[in-house]
Symmetry: C4
Subunit: 207 residues, 4 copies
């Protein structure tokens, strides 16, 4: 089974989940002193921005992963559906986070919920990659087993880091949010990634 | 007519229907004692999870089906639109189910409605396959008539099993929900499918 | 400019508009006597079904049209955007129609609004085809000018028929709804279309 | 990395953002004197129409841009995500604009917010192009550096013009709206663009 439709379907779910984030920013019905009302919505903007960049990041990593996965089977479709199930929950957890920040109440619970869903999403994400790369089963010739293992290590780091963010958020909500925000550039920044990838490539293909 | 755009359009509808499920989980406006309020939303999580996996499953089967359908005609587009019409209703029936479970009122009606839409969806789904495989009309060379018939039997089982779930749900709502939930791994699990498909392939191509 | 991305973008808008129809069927918050409450939602089901099949139909015709359009230019993108603008309005007009039928008030206005948007959509739809086929400018070799003209006639009939439905709806709302419903099988039914297309093909290519 | 999935994902986000605009036009629950109620929604129609054409325009320009971008890297994905983040905000700012116009209150704030998001979107849009064309890094052979520079100038003009519209809107809201509306045909109209592009092509390739 080719991966084209799996990618198209996943792109669709990612695109919808990321765009649905906007409907959690409620348009004020009453526009008296609108500037003030818009400023009060800052928790929604914060939740929107972090969540948009996080989903965009998961999409980019999904993209990178499926660049190397050549064929799909039924189990891969299932694991991918579990991943999408958790990604599609983010507009809800982002909404809860914004709601708690706006009310200044139960921020701890909201940050933990937000982090738990991110950590949980790491499980099917890593399961896809581990399942695909076992015995190089579903991988194509664009990658060596050693490179696949290096990517593995980087992917497995994800839920650990989000778990640390969640734990920090359980101590002090704002710390959790800052951690989630800082992980975005850490994972997006291309130089770091390129360097580590090149390092692997160099040690792997010495010619 | 090629099936590429039909598949892209269907992927879009599947992806949107599956992602829209999340907007039936309402973000609590009042976040006082948020943990408790979030726990009270369990019927929404249940409806979300079952419906996500069911739609994902229908998508996976749609994918498997169109792997063998080589050309489309106007009638196929029409039958496919009827299927999508019923799939796109699931966020509504899932919302009704969650609403009834939350209120502890009219669960029977909600479960039956949920099941009836699943059963109804089985009709256009099977109609697509029967229409495409009659005289091998729209099928490609990737499948033999005998294999197509074996798939037929498995597909026809779907609405029967969902019908049993609906009937059980009419007796005792929780039984219906359990049946719907159990059908998900039954249909997703790859070993079962692979085995039955191999059986067919073996009896079909004896060399 | 190739038409691939124009088709993908249009497929996306069609898929979203068609799936968004479901959010106009409001889930009852209060589930006491749910069966009765669900039955009272019949105008929403009616609006959903007609609108789903109409948008599906416009999509199928868009598909048929772009099977013959080989290249796109800026003007074509613009006309296509106008078409999508009107298609994406249908969830709104379907919601208004259901609302008026539910209240038993202002059905005339609602039916006329619904019809006017369908008629209006016929203008950019036909403009796309007329623009593309002038001097065979954007058409590919899959179609002769005479065949293109025959399709033209059939496409131009669309807004006329929807206009008649709208006028009948202005006299008696239920008549308008029946007309819109009847136009669906008339346009979807493949035998009629195949026959007329074959007729053209026969007279065009006498060998 | 190829640009196919980046384009598919972007098409998805554009398609969803453009179609979500319709859910800011609220269906009247009470349909007494519906015609009058529908007329009162004119600010929503205005916001819908302008925003639909603006997003469609950004999509068309994105399309034109990626016709020449042959490869993607991590940084390009990131810049593109920032662009989508701002595009997906438009249903919110369009809703705020319609709300303010309906209430006849705080129109200035709403117009400025609307314009600021458009101007802000110009930054990642231009960053994508500047990043891709530096040393012809990510561009394909379909374009010369000089042509890329000419496109640059036209793209850079966008945020300047929207900035002028925003400034005018800060003086007199209606002026801002008129400016945004006038920019649509200015940027969509194919003759102007074709002429300028041809001019460049002529001076670039003298044979």
């Amino acid at each position: 089974m080719k991966t084209a439709r799996l990618e198209a379907f996943s792109d669709g779910v990612f695109a919808i989940a990321i765009t649905l984030l906007v409907i959690e920013i409620k348009v004020p019905e009453d526009t008296h002193d609108l500037a003030h009302k818009l400023l009060e919505l800052w928790p929604s903007y914060l939740g929107y921005t972090i969540s948009f960049l996080v989903i965009g990041l998961v999409w980019a990593n999904h993209h990178a992963m499926f660049d190397h996965i050549a064929v799909a089977d039924r189990m891969l479709l299932f694991l991918n559906t579990l991943l999408l199930l958790l990604v599609a929950l983010i507009p809800f957890t982002a909404g809860v986070l914004a709601s708690a920040l706006r009310n200044g109440e139960s921020e701890r619970t909201a940050v933990v919920l937000y982090g738990v869903v991110l950590v949980a999403g790491g499980f099917p994400f890593n399961a896809i990659w581990e399942y695909a790369r076992r015995d190089h089963r579903l991988l194509g010739p664009t990658i060596t087993p050693k490179e696949a293992q290096a990517i593995s290590r980087r992917f497995l780091l994800g839920p650990v880091l989000y778990g640390i963010g969640t734990a920090l958020g359980a101590l002090l909500p704002v710390l959790g949010i800052i951690t989630f925000a800082l992980l975005i550039p850490f994972y997006w920044l291309p130089p770091l990634l390129t360097r580590s990838r090149r390092g692997v490539a160099a040690s792997d293909r010495p010619d």
